[in-house]
């Protein structure tokens, strides 16, 4: 770990693109010093009444997670922007969020505690809502009422200790959905409040919400 890698704060780059693009993003990002990436499958949902009526408002998405040093975010993002043109509609979005620690990669050896993170003006925030499977649509509905423009649903499973059970000879865990909503900071409170109320998040076992600052976002309109 004591390599010559520059000591820098870790950041997580998140890129959401159409299905099938994930591998291309990774290939491109690797040329700019990204050492690894993880791809999740998700569903993107947009607010368009006609498409919604036709049930065509869902598209398959890939979410690419790449951990890297803060000083690398800028060049990687710039290059991705140039290649994949996130500023155009439907070309995807990308953002980076600050993280406290990253292990298992040679690049970053910095300890967060020693340095103060530069506080930039936070414009956007990422809202994560984890609910039981089937409720993600309700979350998005509630969020849209409060001003969100769309969201990404990621299938997931498993949760609290009291929820595992055994059916026949197999151990099971309940299926969950993670909803990722990017919103302007001033809307966050309204959105979380709407979701919290509509889905009765405060009752036990109904789900959780957490919010994360976004350092920089691309492709949002």
């Amino acid at each position: 770990m004591k390599s010559n890698a520059a000591c820098s704060l870790p950041e997580l780059i998140v890129v959401i693109v159409n299905f099938g693009m994930g591998s291309k993003i990774i290939r491109h990002a690797k040329r700019h010093g990204i050492t690894g990436a993880t791809v999740l499958l998700g569903k993107g949902i947009v607010k368009k009444p006609l498409l919604e009526f036709l049930e065509l408002h869902e598209t398959r998405k890939e979410i690419v997670l790449m951990g890297t040093a803060a000083d690398k975010v800028e060049p990687v993002m710039a290059s991705l922007m140039e290649k994949f043109q996130f500023e155009k509609p439907h070309h995807g979005i990308a953002f980076s969020i600050p993280i406290n620690k990253i292990l298992g990669t040679k690049l970053i050896a910095c300890d967060q505690a020693q340095e103060e993170r530069e506080v930039e003006d936070v414009v956007y925030q990422a809202i994560f809502v984890i609910v039981d499977k089937g409720n993600a649509e309700l979350v998005i509905d509630a969020a849209q009422k409060a001003g969100a423009r769309g969201g990404t649903i990621i299938n997931a499973r498993g949760s609290g200790i009291h929820e595992t059970a055994k059916l026949f000879a197999m151990e099971i865990e309940p299926e969950k959905e993670i909803v990722l909503i990017i919103a302007e900071k001033q809307l966050t409170d309204a959105i979380t409040a709407a979701v919290r109320q509509d889905l009765e998040i405060d009752k036990p076992g109904k789900g959780i919400i957490f919010v994360q600052d976004i350092s920089k976002a691309y492709g949002l309109r």
């Binding site: 159409n18 299905f19 994930g22 050492t35 690894g36 791809v39 999740l40 499958l41 498409l51 036709l54 049930e55 065509l56 408002h57 869902e58 598209t59 398959r60 890939e62 439907h90 040679k106 089937g134 649509e137 309700l138 509905d141 299938n155 499973r157 498993g158 595992t164 059916l167 026949f168 000879a169 197999m170 151990e171 099971i172 865990e173 299926e175």
Partner: protein, 497 residues
């Protein structure tokens, strides 16, 4: 890019190859005549649009319904509910399958009414239902898929001993016929639904597939039992290929439409009944989700009707014409090569194939790429059709000569290939034998048989579907082996940096 354009693009790339091939044949060895060619292009357009709409419908209705059903009946945690649900679901899906009805009528024909078509449909459907229940039990009690399939296929081959060779072909064809365009997406989703609950994610992934394979053995066993008890007379050769002389462009489509619509309603009905019943007693979906599935069914209905219209109106005619003309050249090499390329390209246009590849991508989070699966599948079907051509051309070459060793290899491989691929491969066997194979390739095979002296349209016509069901199992397991070897390497090598 919204879903519709995405689907159209995906489907376009899968229907274009076969269209191109037929077009090239038209210009070189087998001129189809202008009206038929034009109709073929029009049909290809219908197939593209129909398939795209159908696939949207499957994503909205059929897959969610299957997954929900699988989950809910498992969550009840009662064995009898699981068994009962398996039998009922399997029975009703199978009985509505148009492919099975066609097959049953042919069987009734060759046995001179000894085996009634209704009887056969019921027996096969019961067999399918029983094995569906068995397939559920296998997943929830963690019985390995390869061992399950070994036992089932040994049973099938033991029962094959007292079965007449012609009936053997029918039996193996039945396994392909029952797993049709509606059944496959639903059964795959059922399996995914049951195993998605598993805590152990590797187990969950590998047990997602294999249910189609298990249920289709039910059809094989059903027909074999039937023939053992019913006995059979000498097979007649009463089937003749009618070569199209139709010159009108639009008329065939209008004629095919009512039949296509009826067929579609017929296959969808059991699923809609299942949905409405389970919504009342189990799902209790909210209004939005409920309406969403209903809209999905409308998509499925429209898409499938358009698709069937295109396929039924022209693909059969074009297939038998190409087959007849190509066999007329007397060039055996050309016949076999043509068979390979037609098999290779038509499989890409099979609806269920897209459903399977999507499910594979979803279940493995994109680790197993749909394109790789498509490639292996197309290769397998190409080889299978080429083999069927050989069987027509070489009189002594019988079906079981490659069916038996083929299944021995397939089963043998299942013991050292990653279990995920075993499930995918055996499921693909059922997936490959959909409406396009059953029309275009079957008509092509029969066209060749009609033109080749000494070949019987009926006997050589049967068995092609069996071959198409077998070869992809082997090629996809080979793909699994390649994946296994590649992944091992990747894990050991240090990063490039």
């Amino acid at each position: 890019m919204n879903v519709f354009t995405e689907k159209i693009r995906e489907v376009l790339f899968s229907v274009l190859p076969v269209t191109l091939i037929v077009f090239i044949f038209n210009l070189t060895v087998t001129p189809l005549g202008f009206p038929l060619l034009l109709r073929f292009l029009l049909a290809a357009l219908l197939v593209i649009i129909g398939l795209a709409i159908f696939l949207i419908g499957v994503d909205l209705a059929v897959t969610p319904l299957g997954t929900l059903t699988g989950e809910n009946i498992t969550k009840k945690n009662k064995l009898w509910i699981l068994l009962l649900a398996g039998v009922i679901l399997g029975f009703f899906i199978s009985i509505a399958e148009p492919g099975l009805l066609v097959l049953a009528n042919q069987v009734a024909l060759v046995t001179a009414g000894h085996v009634s078509s209704t009887g056969l449909v019921i027996v096969v459907s019961v067999g399918l239902g029983l094995l569906m229940a068995f397939g559920f039990v296998r997943i929830v009690y963690n019985v390995p898929l390869n061992k399950t399939l070994t036992v089932l296929y040994i049973l099938a081959f033991v029962l094959a001993l007292p079965t007449r060779p012609e009936f053997l072909a029918i039996a193996f064809d039945a396994s392909g016929a029952t797993t049709g365009v509606m059944a496959v997406p639903f059964i795959i989703a059922l399996g995914v639904g049951v195993s998605a609950l598993k805590k152990d994610s590797t187990a969950s992934e590998k047990d997602s597939f294999g249910l189609v394979a298990i249920t289709s053995v039910g059809a094989i066993l059903g027909v074999q039992l039937m023939s053992v008890f019913a006995g059979s007379k000498e097979l007649g050769d009463s089937l003749h290929v009618a070569l199209s002389t139709e010159t009108s462009l639009i008329l065939p489509f209008l004629e095919a439409l009512p039949g296509a619509l009826r067929e579609t309603v017929f296959v969808l009905l059991p699923l809609i009944v299942i949905f409405l019943t389970l919504q009342q007693i189990m799902f209790k979906l909210n209004k939005k989700a409920f309406r969403r599935i209903l809209k999905g069914f409308i998509y499925t209905l429209v898409g499938l009707a358009v698709f069937f219209t295109g396929v039924n109106a022209v693909f059969m005619d074009a297939g038998s014409m190409v087959g007849y003309k190509i066999a007329g050249t007397g060039n055996n090499f050309l016949i076999v090569v043509t068979g390979f390329f037609l098999g290779f390209t038509t499989i890409l246009a099979e609806p269920a194939v897209h459903v399977l590849t999507h499910q594979i991508e979803d279940v493995t989070s994109g680790y197993v790429k749909g394109k790789a699966v498509l490639g292996a599948l197309a290769l397998g079907v190409g080889i299978a059709v080429a083999m069927s051509m050989l069987r027509i051309l070489i009189p002594g070459f019988q079906l079981w000569h490659f069916l038996l060793p083929g299944y021995i290899i397939a089963i043998g491989m299942s013991y050292f290939v990653p279990q995920l691929f075993v499930g995918i491969a055996f499921d693909a066997g059922g997936v490959a034998t959909g409406p396009i194979t059953a029309t275009f390739i079957l008509a092509f095979t029969q066209g060749v048989a009609e033109a080749v002296e000494g070949a019987s349209v009926l006997i050589d016509g049967f068995g092609m579907i069996a071959a198409v069901a077998l070869m992809p199992i082997i090629t996809l397991q080979l793909l699994g082996l390649i994946f296994q070897i590649k992944t091992k390497k990747g894990g050991l090598e240090p990063d490039e940096e």
